[in-house]
Structure formats: C-alpha cells, structure tokens
C-alpha cells in the first residue's frame, strides 16, 4: 500500500516536472526575437502571405493565450503543426522517434555491459594496467569531441577500409522492414528478414560506437568507485572469511551493494545520450529526433522544438522513475 502511495506521489511529481518543462520551453521559444511565420510562408512570400501564415500559426494572439491554447491542445494529444511542412508535429515525432530510440537503446545496452564489467574489472585489479588502461580509455573517449570521432570513424572505416557504411539506417536499395515498432532491428527479426537485419545492424554500428565512446566512461568510473567503496566495507572481509569464492563475493555481494549509484548513473547517462545523439545524427545523417531538433531550432520552428523537448524530457524522467522504483529490488533496506 505504501508502495502504491509512493508511486502515486512520484507520478504526481512527474506531471509537475513535465508541466515545468513545457512552461520553460514555451518561455524560451517565445523570448526568441524571430518571426517563424515569415519563414514558414516561404522565401518568396509577400507580406499578405506572411500574415496569412501568422494567423494560421496562431502567433497573433497574446502570449498567455497562446500558452493556454497550447496546454489545452496538449491534453488532447495535439502538439501543433510543423510550421514549414504543415504536418502535425505528432506525426513527425512518430516518424523520427524510433531511429533515435533504437540508437539510444543499442548504445545503452552496450555501455551498461562494457561500463559495468569494465568498472568491476578496474576495481578488482586496482592499480594494475587493467585499471589504468580502462580508466584512460574511457576517459579518453569522454574527452574527444563527438563530431570529430564520428568523422574519423567514417574516414577510417568507410573511406579507407570500406568495412562499414557512412550514413543512414539501411542501404539505399533495401526497403525498410514492415513497420511494427519502427526499430529496424526488431521489425526485421519479427518479419524474418535476416538480410535486412544484418544490414540494419551494420548501419547502426558506427553511430552507436561513436555514442558509446563518450558515454561508457561515466558508468565505468562510477562502477569502479562504488565497488572500491564497497570493498572497504567489513562485510566483504567477512564474506571472504566465510570461504565464499571470489566470483560470488564480487558479483553477488559487492556489485549488488554498489548497484544503487550505478543505476543512478545509468539513468542520468540516458539524458546525456540524447545530447550526444544530436551531433551523431547530424554527421551520420541518422534520421532521428536530434537532427529534427537542430533543424527546427535553426528555423525557430516552435511546435517541433516543444514536441522534441517534451518527448525527450518525458523519456528521461520516465527512465529515472523506473530506476528509482527499481531500488528496492536491489537494496531490500529501501522501503517506500
């Protein structure tokens, strides 16, 4: 019962935060001193056409009215129209979201795997070359500008070695798998299209690894630090004294006990992943939300900016909520 009460409270918090996000985005996008109506009406437009557009976009209303209208429409699931294409923002987001989601999920899986195991290894072999090497490599990845890494990978793996493709989610001549989730790796498996699956996997490799390079460091370092702190605890000595194998000590006891900061970091990193994804999507022409967001900001196209921000913020908040809810599973002392 207490858990349900906690859950209800957290969901209330989620709604409050999302409302704050909406308000903040609305304020920022309206502080911008530019006229999106002019842009939406087209480069050749005359004043009358621009005014038509302004009215269509509802920009001739006072600010609080615009805000209220936006909230009301939001509750109906209407995120407005993309000013340049006049397509509903919801449709655009649905088109672009799967690509980013797929990239983020693949990268997350990889950095959890590599980061946690690498961090454990570094902690266990503290001071050795494994430790120093793992730290150096992961920090090195963190320090490299992501767009530079992306271009270098393209030049090395595409231009020089011809091993991997330079852009896109799929080869130009292949048709995408039948749409179920929008994630090509999932959809092609479900449809039994092995060739397409391989092609999609090959295309996601460079973008995912580029994104991974910058994000594995934090998970690795947190894991290492948490494990080291746990190693110092008396119960570890007790466990060893009891005769438990080192493997059980490390994985069953220490990792479990350091899980909380690790999980927290994994949740936080998910947010940083989106920042990285923006740059990677531009360089690899990956058709996701990141590129859409940059184009919209460049054109000061308000509805898509708000839509992207909402989705990403919602995803981030949800992930962290799930992680918070998972804490009791890991640490039985935590009770909601």
């Amino acid at each position: 019962m207490r858990f349900l009460a906690y859950l209800a409270m957290r969901i209330g918090w989620l709604i409050a935060v999302m409302l704050g996000v909406v308000t903040l985005t609305f304020l920022i996008t309206n502080v911008v001193p530019a006229d999106p109506a002019r842009l939406a009406a087209g480069l050749e437009a005359q004043q009358a056409q621009v005014d038509t557009m302004r009215h269509l976009m509802g920009l001739d209303q006072p600010l609080p009215v615009q805000y209220w209208n936006y909230l009301v429409r939001l509750l109906h699931g209407d995120l407005g129209l993309d000013a340049r294409s006049q397509r509903p923002v919801v449709t655009q987001l649905a088109e672009y979201f799967p690509a980013t989601f797929e990239l983020v999920i693949v990268t997350m899986t990889l950095y959890i795997l590599l980061g946690v195991i690498g961090g454990v290894a570094a902690a266990v072999e503290r001071g050795s070359w494994v430790d120093k090497g793992a730290q150096l490599l992961s920090l090195g990845g963190l320090a490299m500008p992501p767009f530079w890494v992306a271009i270098v990978f393209q030049v090395v793996f595409f231009a020089q070695l011809h091993w991997l493709p330079a852009t896109g989610r799929l080869s130009a001549v292949l048709a995408p798998p039948p749409h179920i989730t929008g994630l090509y790796l999932v959809d092609s498996l479900v449809a039994g299209q092995w060739g397409t699956w391989c092609d999609a996997a090959v295309h996601i490799m460079l973008p995912a690894v580029t994104l991974l390079v910058g994000s594995v460091a934090n998970v690795l370092r947190i894991t290492r630090r948490a494990m080291l702190q746990v190693f110092a605890q008396p119960y570890v000595a007790t466990a060893r004294a009891k005769g438990l194998s080192e493997r059980i000590v490390i994985w069953r006891h220490c990792l479990r006990n350091s899980a909380i900061p690790i999980l927290t970091m994994i949740g936080l990193q998910a947010g940083y992943l989106f920042s990285g994804a923006i740059i990677i999507e531009i360089v690899f022409s990956w058709p996701g939300l990141g590129k859409y967001a940059v184009d919209s900001i460049a054109n000061l196209d308000f509805p898509p900016i708000m839509g992207v921000t909402l989705i990403v913020a919602a995803a981030f908040v949800l992930i962290n909520l799930l992680i918070d809810l998972a804490y009791p599973l890991v640490d039985p002392r935590i009770v909601y």
Partner: protein, 525 residues
C-alpha cells in the same frame, strides 16, 4: 575476472562480425539504371503549389511539369520551350494568354491533361497563396476554352508572366477533387503524395532518409534511349560525407561539396565535374538607411575595399566568377558595365570625402551560418577594413534569426551589412531586381533600399511588352543601381556539380544549375 573480460571481448567481436558477414554488402557502387543523389536538405512538403526552395525544386522537377520552361542553357525568352503547352499566343495588350495544350499527356494517376487541370492548378496555387504564388498575383481569371485550350486573363500587363509560368506546375484535377477535405484543396494529400505528369513517379518517401522515384511508363516523351529508370534522392547533411560517397561511387551526384574538395577531386578519375555559369549573385547588402552607410560615399568606399582577388583566386581557386553589377551577366538584359575593383587608396579617399578619413566606426555584418563562402569572405573583408580604421563585427545566424535581425523595427538593432545570395526564380531580370530593390518589396532579399526612380522603372518594365524596350529599361535600372550602390556585388554562384564517372551526361535547369533535369541523365558503365 580475466575470464569474464575475455568472454566480454569475444561477445563484442561476435556482435560486430556476425551482421557484417551476414549483410548483403549492398553499399558500394550501384549498377544499372539507378541514379542516386546525395542532398543536403529534404523538401518540407511535396505540394507543387507551395514548395519553392532548392530542395523542393530538385524533387518537383522530376514529378511535375509546367506549361513552358527555358531551353537548356539560355534565359532568352524567345527560346522558351513548350512542355505541357505546344504553342501560345499573347494578346497585343498583354492581358490575355492563350495556351494550346499537348494532347495525349497522362498524369501519374491515369487522368488526361486538359484545360480543366491547368485551370484547377493555377487557381489552386493562387488561392493557397504561399510559396511562388506571387507570380500569379496579376491573374484575374482562367478559362477552359476547349478541352485543349486555356486562356489566362491578367488584370494588368505583366511582361515577365510567360517566364514566371515556369514556376507553375500542373497537377491532376482529378486528384485535387478526389482528395479534397473540407475545402483544403487537397493540401493535406499533396503534402505527402504526388499527382504530376513528369517523367518520374514517387514510390516512397522515408522522412529524413530518402525519396525513391521510378520512371513513369506512360510519360509523353517516351523512354527510348539511355535514361535513368530509378532515382534515389538521399539526405546526406555533411559535405565531407557527400564527398566520400561520390568518390566511392555509392552516390552519383552530390550537391554540397566544398570548393576545396572539388579541387582535390580533380585528381580522382572516379569523379566528374560540370561547371555551369551562375545566375545567382552574392551580395553584401548595405543598410542604406543607417549611418554611416547612409552616405553613398562610404558605401562606395566599402565597394573599393573588398579584396575580390583574394576571395576569388585565393580562397575559391577561381571556381567562382567575379560579379559585374547587380544582375548576373548570363541575363540578356545585362548592362555590361565595369566590374568593381579593389582599390584601398580610392576607398581611403572616398572615406575622407565623407569625413571619415581615419575610419573610427564599427559595422556589424550578419550572414547565414553554414555557408562557408560567406564566412570566409566576411573575414577577409574584416581584415581589409582594419586598414581603413573600420572595425567589422561578424555574426553567423540561423536563417530565421537573420531575417528577423534584418527587418528589426528599431533601426539601431539592424545590422549594417547582410551577406546573402539571390537566385532568380525564373528567367526574367524582374525575378531578381523587383524583390530585391523595389522599395515596398517584402521579399527577404530586400534591405531598406528605396529609390522612387527605380520603383517607377521596375513597374514600367513589367508593363512593357516590347522586349527591346524592356531591355533598355532594365539597363537603365542597373546603371542607377550602380550609382546608388545599395550593396557590394561580390561573385556569381557558379554551380559546380560533381558526378560519379558513371554519369556521362546531365542537363541542369537554366535558372538554377543546382537542379538537374533527371530525364536527361545518361549513365555509362
């Protein structure tokens, strides 16, 4: 611990190699009659009545056709070709245009081209009133006189009208009626679908990725000879990536390769270069209403202070041509005046005449961010102005912000210089001069310039039906602009198209060389 690490590394290697081995290594040079293009931007809408920017044009030319268009390589209106019209007559008062339509032309949805489709297309574009609809502002009514004859009546004479019709695409009236929803003239449908008569049909559009088109079997010109049968227009935003793709042959045409890459690619046999003289002029437009640039002597000093050779020969390796006046020399109506020269001494003298012999003021220059030419040119200019004691502050802005800064109601907030290029929409000088220099123009290219004499001449030119009289007027306008110096014409945007070696021939559109007429593509092996 070691065993775990080893297993992890093994897992990663398998994860990497397996799909690679299993994938149909399709990336690599395409074969056959497939033509792939790499483009920096995608169209935002597929509607031919609305799409007016470069990405839209590159697609529309494949799927739709206008009544007339410029013959390849010339802007002379005496050489206009009929596309969907076989012939036309213009009444002596310039108010009635009668077009005889080509029989037997089919739209992609199966319906036939007739006068009704032309009427519906024109009225639709005028009613929606976005994009290029301004060229139809003088249209009073459109009549389907007979199934293959259409008459357009103007409310006042507009001499460039016949050239402007190259921008008006004809859509299937059946499609408009069928997909009309709540009086929206089928805008909702046309945003994502097409119903044109052009050589290629849209098969699929993966948003943010690529568009795929295939040859329309019933196209009225027929498909005998060597043509591309499938088109894939891929979105590749990075110029460096575009270069890699065209070098490897994975793409046949890349539209945004930098000048340095073009020079580097000259060594590469796998790549062909095609240069077309430009019609777009890059200007540094000056704020004629804001001191100190309000003084024409200061403006003329700036014209003499720009390092043209440094820019064109040094930075651009001669890949662009110097501008000569406000209109590109490719126009038959060009005034053939003297191009500007870099002369710091003269600049200093002019500044002295205006009372600024030591300079001592700061100017802000705003340009559209991603284009490297504008950034480089501005930096070179800033360096030269230092010699005159003038500080030039640069700011690259996203497009929307640039437009806003330019037309700020508070003149103190406006920039002093704006760097952009104006591409003619159609083959008449009116398409550049009117939007840019008419005092009441709301076009984005206009920047505070107002001269009633020029206004009067522009209006008169529009009404003058006699071609040689019109040319004389445009020459006078250009001379007046040279005297008024509203901007610094810098260079012509010579379009250099880079193709893979497979492409043995491709015609570019006459007004916008970054648009290829895909039907004319010939592919070797």
């Amino acid at each position: 611990m070691r065993s775990v690490c080893v297993r992890l590394v093994a897992l990663c290697v398998i994860l990497a190699l397996a799909p690679w081995a299993g994938s149909v290594t399709v990336f690599g040079a395409p074969k056959g009659d497939l033509f792939t293009a790499a483009q920096r931007n995608q169209p935002t809408t597929l509607d031919p009545a609305i799409g007016s920017d470069a990405p839209s044009t590159k697609y529309l030319i494949a799927a739709y056709e206008p009544l007339v268009r410029n013959r390849f390589g010339t802007l002379d209106e005496r050489h206009l070709e009929g596309v969907l019209a076989t012939s036309w007559d213009i009444s002596s008062d310039g108010l009635r245009y009668t077009f005889h339509l080509r029989p037997g032309v089919k739209f992609h949805d199966g319906s036939q081209l007739d006068a009704e489709s032309v009427k519906v297309s024109i009225e639709r574009m005028k009613t929606i009133n976005l994009g290029n609809a301004y060229v139809l502002s003088a249209v009073q009514e459109v009549n389907a006189v007979s199934p293959l004859t259409v008459q357009i009546t103007l409310s006042e004479p507009y001499a460039p009208f016949i050239q402007a019709l190259t921008l008006v695409y004809i859509v299937s009236s059946t499609a408009v009626k069928e997909h009309q929803v709540n009086g929206d003239l089928a805008q909702g449908w046309f945003r994502d679908h097409e119903a044109g008569s052009g050589p290629y049909r849209l098969d699929s559009w993966q948003l943010g990725q690529q568009m795929q088109l295939s040859a329309f079997p019933d196209y009225w010109r027929g498909w005998s000879g060597n043509h591309a049968k499938t088109l894939i227009l891929r979105l590749v935003a990075e110029p460096a990536t575009q270069r890699l793709l065209v070098q490897s042959g994975e793409v046949d045409w890349a539209d945004s390769i930098t000048t340095d890459d073009i020079i580097a690619l000259r060594q590469d046999k796998a790549v062909r270069e095609q240069r077309s003289p430009g019609l777009a002029v890059f200007y540094l437009m000056m704020n004629t209403k804001k001191p100190p640039l309000a003084d024409v002597r200061v403006r003329q000093a700036l014209v003499a202070a720009f390092p043209y050779d440094q820019m064109l020969k040094g930075v651009l390796h001669g890949l662009m041509s110097p501008a000569n006046g406000y209109l590109a020399p490719g126009f038959p109506e060009h005034d053939h005046g003297a191009p500007a020269q870099f002369d710091l001494a003269r600049a200093r003298q002019l500044l002295g005449d205006a009372g600024y012999s030591k300079g001592g003021f700061t100017l802000t220059l705003v340009y559209f961010n991603p284009l490297d030419y504008e950034s480089l040119g501005s930096q070179l200019f800033a360096d030269q102005l230092q010699n005159l004691g003038i500080t030039l502050k640069l700011q690259g802005l996203p497009w929307a912000s640039l437009l806003q800064r330019k037309s700020d109601p508070d003149i103190a907030q406006e920039p002093d210089l704006v760097f952009y290029n104006v591409t003619p929409g159609f083959g008449s000088p009116d398409s550049i001069l009117y939007p840019t220099f008419y005092s009441k123009s709301t076009h984005w290219g206009h920047f505070n310039y107002a001269n009633p004499k020029v206004d009067a001449m522009l209006d008169q030119a529009r009404r003058t039906l006699n071609a040689s009289q019109r040319t004389a007027l445009y020459v006078q306008i250009q001379r007046q602009l040279r005297a008024d110096t509203p901007g610094i014409p810098l260079m012509l945007w010579d379009i250099v198209n880079v193709y893979s070696a497979r492409v043995t021939h491709a015609d570019v559109a006459s007004t916008s060389a970054f648009v290829i007429d895909y039907y004319t593509i010939q592919l070797g092996q």
